[in-house]
């Protein structure tokens, strides 16, 4: 058994900490004050590119077919925690192929990888992509989406509406989940690569969110959006093998422990801010204050371990369905509680609306909603644990 992290990891975390403190935290606070996402042309994004961010993990068209690298989910979770510690919203604002990248790498044709991920190899400017699953009428029940894909010769025509999609209005392209027959559930779903500017794609509305204001969550409509068949992710044969819905759910699966790690980062930020405040105001000697800080710290530690367990299992190529869902269900709640307790510790200062913990309290809530709500995670666990029927 080994609970330590190695020097190489520590170095990466140190780098993240440095950027977090210098760039990420201030950007998040400013976006929150402005109540608007970081604008597309903001120099912050240029600096992201300069640091080597915003690029695809796809190796490129001419890369030798090497054996896949050994995964290091643990490292990615530690970094997800560290970065979210500085600002979860800003992490999501960072340019890059984002959520749909994995689906395109895993399922896209060679031509699609080149076309859609190619520009992210050495981006000439900040570029984004997004994944559009959620609709006004369907979120948790992803099998119930209504965006319709109709075949028209060698084209597809998309009609529907999406909501809360991260970075949608600034994305080069959007991976849109649609259905060829709403009555057939998952089996009838297809994923389409829709380029920005395609006629019929529009009505972008950036939502007013309670928290995580640094990145845009956007609603939009698809009205007779006409796409060549080559924009169907993975091409037609893939769907004959009925892989449509699974493709989307794979994106979600990989995400759960990452969201959990983000939540741990938020909780840890609330802890540190609580301690700082208590120290500055000479409250650390009070039992009630110390008890609260101890409780927050314990919650952060247990959530972190639960989260790392899910990552470790993944690195071992062992099943982690229960553990991944558990990490997200628990860490999201811990983040909320930590921020809530922190606010109580601040007292009236918490009511001013300008303290970091107050922001964390608002930001944290989304962790229990995105990529499968707390209830959905519990359902997933219960199916495994007690055979809860679908």
């Amino acid at each position: 058994m080994e609970f330590a992290i190695d020097a190489a990891m520590r170095e990466r975390i140190e780098e993240a900490r440095e950027v977090g403190q210098r760039e990420i935290r201030p950007a998040g606070l400013e976006a929150d004050r402005n109540a608007a996402p970081i604008p597309v042309g903001d120099p912050f994004f240029d600096r992201c590119l300069e640091r080597g961010e915003g690029r695809t993990r796809w190796a490129g068209p001419n890369a030798p077919k090497s054996k896949p690298r050994k995964s290091n989910v643990i490292l990615s979770l530690l970094l997800a925690e560290e970065l979210a510690y500085w600002d979860r919203g800003v992490i999501n604002a960072t340019p890059g192929p984002g959520l749909p990248e994995q689906s395109v790498i895993g399922m896209g044709t060679d031509e699609q990888k080149e076309r859609f991920l190619g520009p992210f190899l050495e981006p000439d400017k900040p570029r984004w992509a997004c994944f559009g699953m959620t609709e006004p009428g369907a979120g948790s029940d992803a099998a119930a989406i209504r965006t319709l894909a109709r075949r028209d010769g060698d084209h597809w025509i998309l009609n529907g509406a999406k909501c809360f999609i991260g970075a949608a209005s600034r994305s080069d392209w959007l991976l849109i989940q649609a259905t060829v027959d709403p009555s057939k559930g998952r089996a009838a779903q297809r994923a389409f690569l829709v380029e920005q500017g395609t006629p019929g794609l529009g009505g972008f509305k950036i939502e007013k969110k309670m928290g995580l204001k640094a990145y845009e969550s956007t609603s939009f409509t698809l009205e007779d959006v006409r796409l060549p068949a080559s924009n169907l992710l993975g091409g037609e044969e893939r769907y004959e093998r009925k892989a449509g819905f699974k493709a989307a759910m794979q994106t979600f699966n990989a995400g759960r422990p990452v969201i959990a790690a983000n939540a741990v980062g938020i909780a840890r930020a609330a802890l540190d801010e609580s301690i700082r405040f208590a120290r500055e105001t000479d409250l650390l000697g009070r039992d009630r204050v110390r008890d609260r800080i101890e409780a927050i710290a314990r919650k952060v530690r247990k959530a972190r371990l639960i989260c790392l367990r899910a990552g470790w299992l993944a690195d071992q190529q062992r099943a982690n369905i229960i553990e991944a869902s558990m990490s997200k269900a628990m860490a999201a709640q811990v983040a909320q509680e930590a921020a809530s307790m922190g606010l109580e510790l601040l007292g009236l200062v918490g009511g001013r609306g300008d303290h970091l913990i107050e922001k964390l309290y608002r930001d944290a809530k989304a962790m229990d909603i995105v990529e499968g709500t707390g209830q959905i995670q519990r359902m997933i666990i219960a199916r495994q644990l007690v055979g809860l029927p679908r």
Partner: protein, 358 residues
């Protein structure tokens, strides 16, 4: 006899408050929040229903009602918009504080201070205050107000009235913005009146806590009602989300927390009106409301999923405001401190039938 009905007269007043909340406060909720104020139309509607000066004694041309009336009305108003409820009431718990600690003279001093066009009186509760000669110095990180014609400071057994030298520096506010949000500073402000009464101060603290607690009840009720109603309309996996047990039981827990907290508030308010010991009970009721709000605030949002996170729905406001309300008047820690202290003064504090109360 044990009876939870408010009686006809009070029921009528409560009904009036509810109607005002439904027709005027709720619809303008976002407007008031953005404007950091209630608009003239709302003020006119408020004046018309005559809910102002609820606890002002009749000899001061008030309604002369008690704490039970206050908590019932507050819940209704705050169910509409807690910020507006604060903004509309010129006296708030500043009045009951002066009434309890200073009596008639103090009330006269307050009403005449607010007469001069100034809007509201703010109550600040502190452990101790910096007084020298006839001036007072104090710094409160947040009060839900942009302007104040009077500040009442309750410190230990003393109540102070300050009407000049009130400095309010606006801040964003975590919630309740309809009432404004500011840092309050009194820098050697001259004291317009000082009254001392230990027993009165204890009752004043109890009433202030119940004032805030009942506003919190209103916010929590709204969060429960809104999310429960939403859960009957919204469908996922082939049925209303509220019919999935994982969500249904969460909403049941929210409702149980609300109902229990409300009963504690009502019982404590009843004690205030009957001049029974009420300090521990009011503090406990306030603590219970804050605990309930930790559950209800965030979960009101949770029930709406991603939609709850957006300003298109009121539940994110409920979440912020229920948390902010719970920070007032010493918040949770001071409340459990006081409730706990009193509890250990007797061996069998919850004996049935002591002094005719539960």
């Amino acid at each position: 006899m044990f009876d939870l009905d408010p009686g006809d007269e009070l029921a009528l007043i409560v009904d009036t408050a509810r109607k005002l909340a439904e027709t005027e406060l709720t619809p303008r909720m976002r407007e008031s929040e953005a404007a950091r104020a209630v608009d003239a139309g709302l003020l006119a509607a408020w004046d018309e229903v005559g809910l102002a000066a609820l606890e002002l004694p009749e000899r001061h041309d008030g309604a002369g009602l008690g704490c039970v009336a206050r908590v019932l009305v507050n819940e209704e108003l705050a169910a509409g918009d807690a910020g507006a409820a604060l903004a509309l009431d010129p006296f708030g718990p500043a009045l009951t504080t002066l009434l309890e600690v200073g009596g008639d003279d103090a009330v006269t001093a307050l009403t005449s201070a607010l007469d001069h066009g100034a809007s509201r009186a703010i109550l600040v509760i502190v452990d101790a205050v910096d007084v020298s000669a006839d001036t007072l110095t104090l710094d409160a990180a947040w009060v839900p107000a942009d302007e104040a014609g009077a500040v009442v400071v309750l410190a230990g057994s003393d109540a102070f009235l300050v009407t000049e030298g009130i400095s309010l520096e606006r801040v964003r506010g975590a919630g309740l913005r309809a009432a404004g949000a500011a840092r309050l500073e009194l820098e050697g402000a001259s004291i317009a009146g000082r009254w001392t009464d230990a027993a009165g101060a204890e009752r004043a603290r109890a009433r202030a806590r119940l004032h805030a607690a009942s506003l919190l009840l209103g916010v929590m009720r709204s969060a429960c009602d809104f999310s429960t109603a939403y859960s009957q309309e919204r469908e996922a996996f082939g049925k209303p989300i509220g019919h999935h047990q994982a969500l249904a039981f969460l909403m049941v827990d929210m409702r149980m927390a609300l109902d229990a907290a409300r009963l504690l508030v009502h019982e404590a308010a009843w004690r205030v009106d009957r001049a029974l010991p009420c300090a521990a009970e009011a503090a406990a009721a306030w603590a219970e409301c804050i605990e309930a709000s930790r559950l209800i605030g965030p979960n009101g949002v949770q029930v709406l999923g991603g939609h709850g996170f957006m300003a298109d729905y009121p539940v994110e406001k409920h979440m912020r405001e229920s948390r902010a309300l719970g920070l007032l008047f010493g918040g949770y820690d001071a409340a459990i401190e006081e409730a706990g202290q009193r509890l250990v003064e007797t061996d069998t504090p919850l004996d049935l039938g002591q002094s005719g109360a539960l």
